[in-house]
C-alpha cells in the first residue's frame, strides 16, 4: 500500500498537469478575483475566506477525473482490484495520494494568497487549520465521485455535477471557520463539524467507492 502511495504521488508529480494544474488554478482565482471585484481592501477582506475556500474546492475538482481514469484505461485498476490488498484500502490510499498532491500544497500556499486577498491577520492561522482539516474530505468525496464515473467515456462534467452537491457541507463549515477566525470569534463549532465530516467521509466513503469500482469493472 505504501508502494502504491509512492507510485501515485510520483505519477502525479512527474506526469505534469495534475500537480501543477490545481495550484495554478488556485493562484489564478486569487489573482483574478481582486481584478474583477476591484482593489477595495474592505470588500476583499470580507469575501477572502469564501473565495479562498471556493478556489481550493474547484482546484481539487480539476484533478479528480484522473484519479481512477488513467489506471482504468491502462488496465492497472483491474490489477489493483485483483490484488491481495482490499480495494477499500486502495481507494483510501489513492485518495490520500490525491490529497498529498492537491490539498496539502493548496493548504501551504493559501496564506500567501490570503495576502493577495487582504485576509485579516487573525484569519491566517484558521485558514491553514480549516484547509488542513477540510481538504482530505474533498479528496475522499472526490474519489467516490471518480469511482462512480470511472467507466464512462466523458465522465468529467458528470463527475462535477455529482460531486458539487456533496461538497456543500464541507465548503460551508470550512469557509465559516475562516470567517469567524478572521473576525476574532470562536471557531470551535465549525472546525469540529468540519473534522467530523472528514473523519466520517474517510471512514465510510472508501467502502462506497470500492463498491462502485467493483460494479464498474464487472
Amino acid at each position: 500500500m505504501i508502494a502504491l502511495l509512492i507510485r501515485d504521488v510520483r505519477l502525479a508529480v512527474r506526469a505534469g498537469g495534475g500537480f501543477g494544474l490545481g495550484l495554478a488554478f488556485f493562484l489564478l482565482v486569487a489573482v483574478l478575483v481582486p481584478l474583477g471585484v476591484g482593489p477595495d481592501g474592505g470588500t476583499l477582506a470580507r469575501i477572502a475566506p469564501g473565495i479562498l475556500w471556493v478556489g481550493a474546492l474547484l482546484a481539487c475538482l480539476l484533478s479528480l477525473d484522473r484519479l481512477f481514469a488513467l489506471d482504468y484505461e491502462d488496465g492497472s485498476l483491474d490489477l489493483l482490484v485483483t490484488a491481495p490488498i482490499p480495494l477499500e484500502g486502495v481507494v483510501a490510499v489513492k485518495a490520500l495520494a490525491h490529497w498529498m498532491v492537491t490539498g496539502l500544497p493548496l493548504t501551504l500556499v493559501a496564506p500567501v494568497l490570503g495576502v493577495l486577498l487582504n485576509l485579516p491577520a487573525p484569519g491566517y492561522f484558521w485558514l491553514v487549520v480549516s484547509l488542513a482539516l477540510g481538504t482530505p474530505a474533498l479528496s475522499v468525496i472526490g474519489a467516490f465521485g471518480a469511482a462512480l464515473t470511472v467507466g464512462l467515456k466523458r465522465g468529467g462534467l458528470l463527475l462535477s455535477l455529482l460531486v458539487l452537491p456533496l461538497y456543500v457541507p464541507t465548503l460551508i463549515f470550512g469557509a465559516e471557520a475562516v470567517k469567524r477566525g478572521a473576525e476574532g470569534m470562536a471557531t470551535g463549532t465549525p472546525l469540529a463539524l468540519l473534522a467530523a465530516i472528514t473523519a466520517g467521509a474517510a471512514a465510510l466513503l472508501p467502502f462506497a467507492a470500492a463498491a462502485a469500482i467493483r460494479i464498474n469493472l464487472r
Binding site: 467516490f144 462512480l148 464515473t149 467507466g151 464512462l152 465522465g155 458528470l158 455535477l161 455529482l162 458539487l164 452537491p165 456533496l166 456543500v168 457541507p169 460551508i172 463549515f173 465559516e176 465549525p190 463539524l193 465530516i197 466513503l205 462506497a208 463498491a211 462502485a212 460494479i215 464498474n216 464487472r218
Partner: protein, 242 residues
C-alpha cells in the same frame, strides 16, 4: 401472498394496469377539489392578501419533493439488497417527478417571495437546501442517463442515492449555520399549539392528498413505461441474435 410478489414484472404490470386509472382519477379529483376550494372559496390572509393561496401548490410540492427522494432511497435499498428490477425502475421513474416537484416548490416560492419579501431569491437555509436537492436530483438523473448497461446504472445510482441522502441531510443542517433566514417555520405540525387556520388547512390537506396520489400515479405510469422499454430492448436483442 406477500408484497414481494409484485417484484415480478408480469404481476406488477397486471396490478398496476388495474390500479392506475383509479389512482390517477382520485388524484385529479383531489387536485380539482382542493385547488378550486383553495383558490376561490377561502378568504384572503389579512397580511398576505391573495398571495397566500400559492400555499396550495407550494407546500404539497415541497413535501413531495422530499418524500420522492425518500421513496427513491427505499427503492434503491430494495434493489441493492434483494435485486428486484421493478424496484430499481421505480426509483428511476420517480427521479424526474421529484425534480419537477422541487422546481415547482422553488418557482412558486419565488413568485410568492417577490411581493412578500421583496425578492425572488434569498440564500435562506430552506431555499438553499432545496436548490441543493435539485442538484442531487439532476446528478442522479444524469448518472442514469450516462451509464449504458441497465444493471450497472441501477447499482451506481443506488449507491449515489444512499450517499447523497446522507449528504443532503448534512447540507440541510449545515445551511442552518448562517441564520434562521426569511422562510417562516413549520406551521402544519401535528404537535404544535398554533398552526395554520382550519380555513386554509382543510383545502390544503386535500391538495396534499392530491399531490401524493399524483406522485403515485406518475411513478406507476413511468415504471410501466420503463418495463415496456426494457422488454422492447430484450426483444430487439433477441432479434439480432436469431
Amino acid at each position: 401472498m406477500s408484497l414481494w410478489e409484485y417484484a415480478n414484472p408480469q404481476k406488477f404490470m397486471h396490478l398496476s394496469r388495474r390500479v392506475l386509472p383509479f389512482v390517477a382519477g382520485a388524484a385529479a379529483l383531489c387536485l380539482i377539489v382542493g385547488l378550486v376550494w383553495g383558490f376561490f372559496a377561502t378568504p384572503n390572509d389579512y397580511k398576505q392578501g391573495p398571495t397566500v393561496k400559492i400555499i396550495y401548490l407550494h407546500v404539497p410540492a415541497a413535501m413531495m419533493a422530499i418524500n420522492a427522494w425518500v421513496m427513491m432511497l427505499v427503492a434503491s435499498l430494495i434493489w441493492l439488497i434483494r435485486r428486484h428490477h421493478v424496484s430499481a425502475l421505480t426509483a428511476k421513474a420517480a427521479a424526474p417527478v421529484g425534480l419537477v416537484f422541487t422546481l415547482i416548490a422553488l418557482a412558486t416560492g419565488a413568485l410568492w417571495g417577490q411581493p412578500m419579501w421583496g425578492t425572488w431569491w434569498a440564500w435562506d437555509p430552506r431555499l438553499t437546501s432545496f436548490l441543493i436537492l435539485a442538484l442531487f436530483y439532476l446528478g442522479y438523473i444524469a448518472l442514469w442517463a450516462a451509464v449504458d448497461d441497465p444493471d450497472t446504472a441501477a447499482d451506481l445510482t443506488g449507491i449515489l442515492c444512499i450517499v447523497g441522502s446522507v449528504f443532503a441531510l448534512l447540507s440541510r443542517y449545515a445551511v442552518n449555520f448562517w441564520n434562521q433566514g426569511l422562510h417562516q417555520g413549520a406551521s402544519l405540525s401535528l404537535d404544535k399549539e398554533e398552526n395554520v387556520s382550519d380555513v386554509f388547512w382543510f383545502p390544503l390537506l386535500v391538495c396534499i392528498a392530491g399531490f401524493v396520489l399524483m406522485f403515485v400515479a406518475l411513478v406507476l405510469l413511468r415504471t410501466r413505461t420503463e418495463i415496456r422499454a426494457r422488454r422492447l430492448a430484450a426483444l430487439i436483442a433477441r432479434e439480432r441474435m436469431g
